[in-house]
Structure formats: C-alpha cells, structure tokens
C-alpha cells in the first residue's frame, strides 16, 4: 500500500524504458522506508528544489572515504530517509563478480540498508544507497570480515581505480589493464581510504584507444593502450570483407540491411587522417599518420589488429562538467611500457610526480586538469621533466600550447621586431 501519492513520479513508469520509480516501489514492498524516498522525490519534483542534504562527518573508523553522508531536510515528514548515506564498494577489476558474492552483498545491504543499489557509479564503484549512521559500522565489519569486500574512494581521496575488460576478453588490449588496476589499487590503499589531495583524483585503465572506461573523459591520469609499430594487416581477410564473406563490425549492426560492405565508403573515407588506400587489391596504411582512432580495426577485426610493440599513452587532466565544463585529458606521454615485470615502476613514478606537484600548486577543489590549465601546459611539461614534443598540442596548428621561454630565444624579448619582420614576413 503506497504511503504517499506520487502522480508526478508515476508518469515516469509509463514510457517504454525500465523505471527507477517501479524499482523503488518494488523494494518498498520489502522495506517500507523506501516509500519515503518516493515521497521526498515527489515533493522535490513538485517544488523544484532538492530536499537532500549532502555531507557530514559520517564514516567508518580508520577510513576517511567510502561513505557519503546524506540526510533529508524533512526528517519528520519522511523518517525513512532521515539518514540516507551512500556506501561505495570497491568493484573488482573489470567488474567480474561471482553471483555468490553479489548475493552476499545484497543480503548484507538488505539487513543494514535500504536495499537500493546503483550498479555502478560513474567512477566504477558498486553503490549502496540509503543507510542510517548507526548501521554503518556493523555493515562495514561484515563486508570486510565476512565477504572480504572493501569500500571505495570518496572525498579528496584517490577514487576507486577502474579498468576495462582488458586481455581477459579483448584481443585489442595492449597491456594488462586488470593487473595494472589491481596492483595500483593495492599499492595505493592509503590514498583510497584517507584524504590526500586538494580534491578528488582518478585514474582509469583502458586497454586500447576505444577507451571502454572513458578514461580520457573522466580521469586525472588516463592510461590508454596503444602500439608504436604498424597495424597488422591480413590481406586475405581484407579480401573476404570486401567480398562480403565476413560481416563487418563483427556482425554488430546486422539487424538492418545496410547493403554490400563498401571498404572505400565505410573504412577508407572515414579515416580521420586519410592514411589508408587500396592498391593492387591490397589495403595500405601509412602508419606514421595513424591517430589510433580504432575505426578500421573495429570494422574489420579479423583483417586488422594492433601492432605488436604495445604499451600505453598517458593523458592527464580530464574532468566531468561540474564547475567550468567538461574537459578531455591532454596527451602527456605518447608511449610508455606498462608491465608487471617492474611492478609498474614507470607509471607509479609518473603518477607520484603529478601528485607531488598538484598537492603543492593545486588550489582547494581544483582538479589536476584545472591546475594544468591555470599554469599552462609548458609549465606542467617542465614539472614532469619532459621535453615538449609536437603531440603536446590541443589541435594541430590551431592552438599551440608550447611557448618559448625568453632564454631560449636568441636576443631574448629585447629583439627589434620591426627589424626582424623586415627580414621574416609574419
């Protein structure tokens, strides 16, 4: 029996898509506190103002993250959501769970919390929504001691690292994203569980430039698999694609009749750098011009594969649009070997160099990308002990980030520009 009238929320159940309203109503049959979620959200829809309050001192002993305090500002009217804290659980690498583990998490969550979950948050955590303060410690104890499930990051901590499926299932993965993510998660337990920085910090690991964890859009340090030799071409398989004997895109778009596969139209003409062509019935690639857009590999996976000299590109400074708008990460290191053989030494050295600089220079609530933008890329490159290279630009020839220092220019800034221009037209 519904505790609150929810005509506005009910509208959200009428479309063709699954509805969170239906989910909450179903859970409310088990846990009546969930009716108050619906009641409060209905009121917010009506009044066009939130009734949630964020933040506070809630947490579990020894940790400075993983719990996000949330309260209702109308606790008498909606007592079921008086406390409605969020619990973030560190997902396993690539989100491989056993159903036994998921059931155990859900059982504990129904015992101590609302039963509502979010699988998964945008950082990657398994998110449990709605817990009272007094239930946090017993929940945490059972999660960690009985099912070995740790919390994830929140606040000014290192956020829970995330990675794609990597080499466990994907032939394009250019390094072992699972091993890397797991190793760094264990290596940086202190930074994940206790605040360390001026603001949140994320790193994410994608095995190839398809970037299935959106690391370039979301993470302060994005580690994206790549190769530095040539794309491997199986010319016999290219011919099979052209003849229509192998479905393009692995058959992913086979639900409609798109007509006969046209390699010119669907692959070569769509190459962003125009570095592909057919010659004598064979596909040719000028690999020096390839920007790793992955389109040709995605369309013809049996004919084209990443090169064999594999590693990762490191980009820095992405963030989601909270204060100043969205920002993609900027390329900093075009190629780095990422290997468990040396315990990811080079990557760890890079990350800690970013941290040491950002902890000192970054303002409160300023992401790494915002600090980079404020001081300029040349300064950041210098701090990272790197030499400027042509790839350190936002867009070719339209927004050069790299500027000369006075001491690097013959005659410094005192040169007579008019005299110079007489000899070198602008």
């Amino acid at each position: 029996m519904a505790k609150h009238e929810t005509p506005l929320l009910d509208e959200l159940e009428k479309g063709p898509w699954p509805s969170f309203v239906t989910d909450i109503k179903r859970q409310a049959e088990k846990n009546p506190d969930c009716w108050d979620i619906l009641g409060q959200v209905e009121l917010s829809y009506k009044e066009k103002i939130t009734h949630w309050k964020h933040g506070g001192i809630v947490g579990v002993f020894g940790y400075g993250g993983g719990i996000v305090g949330r309260y209702s500002d109308l606790p008498k009217r909606f007592p079921g959501v008086e406390h409605f804290h969020t619990v973030r659980l560190n997902q396993p690498a690539s989100k491989y769970y056993s159903t036994e583990h998921l059931r155990a998490i859900c059982d504990k969550w129904e015992k101590y919390g609302s039963g509502m979950t979010n699988m998964h948050g945008s950082t990657g955590d398994l998110v449990l929504l709605g817990c009272r303060t007094e239930a946090l410690e017993p929940l945490f104890y059972e999660l960690t001691h009985e099912i070995q499930q740790d919390l994830g990051g929140s606040g000014s901590n290192l956020r829970t690292p995330a990675n794609c499926l990597g080499q466990s299932r994907c032939e394009w993965a250019c390094y072992d994203t699972e091993e890397t993510c797991h190793h760094l998660t264990m290596h940086y337990q202190d930074e994940i569980h206790r605040p360390a920085f001026p603001y949140k910090f994320k790193f994410k690991f994608s095995g190839c430039p398809n970037d299935c964890v959106a690391s370039i859009a979301r993470s302060d340090v994005a580690v994206i698999g790549t190769w530095r030799d040539n794309i491997r071409i199986d010319q016999a398989a290219v011919k099979e694609y052209v003849a229509g004997n192998i479905p393009s895109n692995g058959g992913a778009h086979a639900g409609r009749d798109w007509g006969k596969f046209d390699i010119q139209k669907e692959v070569i003409a769509l190459c962003p750098t125009g570095c592909m062509w057919m010659e004598g019935g064979e596909l040719k690639i000028d690999d020096a011009e390839c920007t790793r857009c992955m389109h040709c590999l995605n369309v013809m996976p049996r004919a084209l594969r990443p090169g064999l000299d594999q590693g990762a590109t490191i980009c820095c400074g992405a963030k989601a649009p909270i204060l100043d708008g969205a920002q993609f990460a900027t390329l900093i290191v075009p190629f780095m070997k990422v290997s468990a053989d040396n315990e990811f030494e080079e990557l760890i050295e890079f990350i800690e160099k970013v941290w040491d600089w950002w902890m000192e220079v970054g303002k409160n609530r300023e992401r790494v990308g915002e600090t980079m933008q404020r001081v300029g890329l040349p300064t950041f490159i210098k701090v990272m002990d790197l030499e400027p290279i042509p790839q350190h630009i936002k867009e070719p020839r339209s927004n050069p980030y790299v500027f000369w220092q006075e001491e690097e220019v013959e005659g410094g800034w005192s040169r007579d520009v008019e005299e110079f221009r007489a000899r070198h037209a602008a």
Binding site: I57, G64, V68, Y71, S154, R194, P195, I322, W355
Partner: protein, 81 residues
C-alpha cells in the same frame, strides 16, 4: 628546518582550534610548516584523525578536517560528489 612530527601535530591542532572557520582544507595546514612536504603534512593530519583528536568532514567530493568540538554531529550541505 622542518618541525618534528610532534611539533607539527601541535601546530596543526593549534591551527584547527583557532582558525575562524571550523572546517579546514588540508592545504590550510601547509603553512604550519613550509619546510615539510605536503604529503607528510597530510600523513600527520590523518594520524590526528586516527588518534581521535580531529575528524574528517566530507561533502562527498571534498574532505576537510575539523576539531571534534567545533562541528555539529549531523550536518549536511548542498553540493556534488
């Protein structure tokens, strides 16, 4: 010369007790000892939380430090996480 760990703890506690605002960012403590690296100051501040002398206050997206007696137990704020 950098302060000893105990001297740094005392300086951080003094700052947390006397600052006009009850909640402080980690960067607010850097001035307690300009000769100590930010990462070490963070470690000492976190130790003070472990010892129960200070507490974390988190909005979900940012974490601040406060003396126990200077903030309310149940408190919320608007913001993003």
């Amino acid at each position: 010369m950098a302060l000893s760990k105990e001297e740094l703890k005392a300086a951080i506690l003094k700052k947390a007790e006397t600052a006009p605002k009850p909640q402080l960012y980690i960067k607010d403590f850097y001035a307690c000892d300009p000769d100590t690296k930010p990462r070490e100051i963070k470690n000492v501040a976190n130790d003070l939380v472990k010892e129960g002398k200070m507490m974390f206050w988190s909005s979900g997206s940012t974490t601040m430090y406060a003396m126990k007696n200077r903030i309310k137990n149940e408190e919320g704020d608007s913001g993003v996480n």
